[in-house]
Subunit: 331 residues, 3 copies
């Protein structure tokens, strides 16, 4: 196969879905194929071959429509598009700057923008369900445009979940079997932990420990889902007791202003829910420490050089996964 | 003629004007040629040939300089440039972010930016006359840069008027004859209705009905212009009485905060100046319903699928017209 | 040598430095080589050959990361990148929009962004030393990314100093010898005058007159530096007495709100520290009047057409110098 060509063989027989809205829409074969493509993209870029995919999507275009700011997600999507040869335009802050400020509905904005011949619209929006509404508008008029959900309210952020999953998949020799995932921090409000829990639940041998202050524990909606699908999980409140057995430690930020003052004081005084060298020292030698970033103190920079700390690699995997998704949708 | 090549024959003998400042500068032959080019662009893109013009303006560049936010206008210009192969850079909110905040004059900003070798500057500005001032600065120093007015204060928005006119021209078999145009809503403050009235007045058989609350009627400056040029018009206040005979219904948003409280109540209670199914049912079967968008309730979404509702097609025509203008100026 | 090819001969033996952080890092041979390349870029563009360098850095990419708005600096960098064939993406206002708002450190942001395969990050930041911190982060992890300081707090703005210096170099037949530079305005707070003084001090025959209200005089740190390096300078308060003998008049904005009310009144009433026709009439026929722009009244527009007024040319030289720097770093 020629470099720069998408391996169409790889995708044969696959049910492409037009839009990327939520993690549940991906079945295991699709994920497997996506990750194989992601790995090819990664190897190509890591070995300095920045041009291999540079013409794959030449002449195609992305509109990045961000109603909420998100430099990380936006720039990684735009770089993914550029590295596939696409044109990019868009807005950093659609909510404030655009006709949305004059009261235009999302549906009208989407229908107008699709008239400008984008191939993909990446949408970040404050409201849960916004990406689905955008997709419905496009499908109603049978427009040849793909929507990718770049995060909708407290809903989903599917490409984040895919990059998280890819990071686990890749570091465990491309297998997700008998993995013990410890998720910690604010599990009640974090959309990344929700999306990742849904997608990990597709692997029957995964089991979870959710460690969080009681009022910030994983939502019942998700633990019910796990129960229905026969996935084991445990709820804990003290990180110290659970890090030892983790294969993957997925840590998130505790928004302290949401906490009971007493608990807040404990956390601040004792560094509870903070991962530093002593926490890492407890972990298995091949554990994986992940974080969706940005972090603000809950993971100490002192562990950044530990090989188990993979959160920056994880962020970079976002580029690879997004390139693979664009190649899948448009290739 | 090869695909992707601008038909220079089409432009021969035409007096190109360097800048696009106001609708009055276009005479009928120029409009006709521009629309023929627009139609070629449209057909090319509609038939999936996104590459036909993709190299026409390769290596040329646009700076979009928006002192006021306008996602719709900015993105359609940027996509038009990209689809012609141009580079784009610019700012979404020059007023807040740039040296304008430090007190730099528009003239100094323009002179500086022209030093960076743009081919076109698209300018959106709060002040009426800003585009002309930018053009004067460029001409004074004989710089090879075109200014396109992307809307200046309560002044003009010529590419909006051209896309409106093109929508009428195209839907009426490329002829504008004996057209009865009903303009409704806030005619006093809407810069799009002003620009469109000026350009339609070039067609001697067009006649207008302006329907608006008395305090929001069409400005005397424009009705005087129509009288001088022998164009018939009528002023009305009740939409119900005028929709029946319209060939084109051009509707705009009523800014309710500008209205007398009594009138406002009538409008809110009775849905006056709102177009819904019952209003559309009155209209001719081949009437054209246009709106510059965004709309905020004055056209009901229930009529979106009626073939007479052409406002999204109209918005898309903006892309085609802007591409044709870029090809004319730079081709 | 083929057009469009960087003259590698020109750079042979040169110690490339990976990042552009401050003017002190440039020695005279490097400056000389950079300016020769700048001149080639300038000639190419001035003679209408906009394509000569259009493929030199094809496929390379710049991320412009502006925590403070600066349309001029950002657009000139982005145009420089485009004219070399590079891709560009970035953010206009990282401070407000990005994860910085959530408390992410600059180091974490840089490490994340470098994962997206930029070749260059142009950084504008409120804090002095930010560019060095970004460079340190990159070097610590041996990442193949160059940082260019686009202005850090009250620190440096090295590409501004280089474009200033180039303007002097080019207008004086590519020699900087026995030049009397008069710097005026707010010398205490202006980062451009500081950077330029440091770099001019490399030329042993340059001498300075610093003319400013006493409380806004050049910082002791810099006059001490000049003394240590044997560079002559004089401190003055009255512009009238010093313009006559200037080879270069480098003028900056006085921020009146920083001034003593009495002095402020004198300045406002008598137009002190303002350069108009009568001030220009005093100057040598081949003097050079420079200003980093934006200006807000301290240089009258009435002198804009005087051949000595070169501030817009100077701004344009910023494009050429930035292209030459990109070609040096990445070529």
């Amino acid at each position: 196969m020629c470099p720069g060509q998408l391996d169409h063989e790889l995708w044969r027989g696959m049910e492409k879905q037009k839009h990327i809205i939520e993690t549940q829409q991906f079945d295991l074969p699709r994920i497997e194929r996506l990750f194989e493509q992601t790995r090819r993209v990664q190897r190509s870029l890591e070995t300095g071959n920045r041009h291999e995919f540079g013409y794959s999507l030449k002449g195609r275009s992305m509109i990045s429509l961000f109603y909420e700011p998100s430099t990380r997600t936006r720039i990684s999507f735009e770089r993914a598009a550029q590295l596939c040869g696409m044109n990019v335009c868009g807005t950093e802050n659609a909510g404030e700057f655009s006709s949305a400020a004059k009261g235009e509905t999302l549906e009208d904005s989407i229908r107008t923008l699709t008239g400008y011949y984008p191939d993909v619209i990446v949408l970040r929006h404050k409201e849960t369900g916004a990406a689905q509404r955008a997709a419905d508008t496009i499908d109603r008029y049978q427009l040849p445009v793909h929507v990718i959900n770049g995060g909708d309210g407290t809903g989903q952020h599917p490409t984040q979940a895919l990059l998280d999953l890819y990071t686990i998949w890749e570091s465990r020799k491309e297998r997700i079997e008998n993995v013990h995932v410890v998720m910690g921090g604010d599990l009640a409000h974090g959309r990344t932990v929700h999306s990742l829990a849904y997608v990990l639940a597709k692997y029957s041998t995964v089991h979870f420990t959710f460690v969080a202050p009681t009022e910030l524990q994983m939502k019942k909606e998700i633990t019910d889902y796990l129960t229905r699908h026969g996935i084991r999980y445990t709820l804990e409140t003290d990180p110290k007791t659970v890090l030892r057995d983790a294969d993957v430690v997925y840590w998130t930020r505790l928004q302290k202003e949401r906490l009971d003052p007493k608990l807040r004081e404990d956390i601040e005084r004792h560094g509870m829910y903070q991962i530093g060298q002593s926490e890492v020292d407890m972990m298995k030698p091949d554990a994986l420490i992940l974080h969706p970033l940005p972090r603000v103190g809950e993971i100490s920079t002192e562990i950044d050089d530990d090989p188990r700390a993979q959160y920056f690699k994880q962020a970079q995997n976002g580029l690879y996964v997004r390139m693979a998704l664009l190649l899948e949708l448009l290739g």
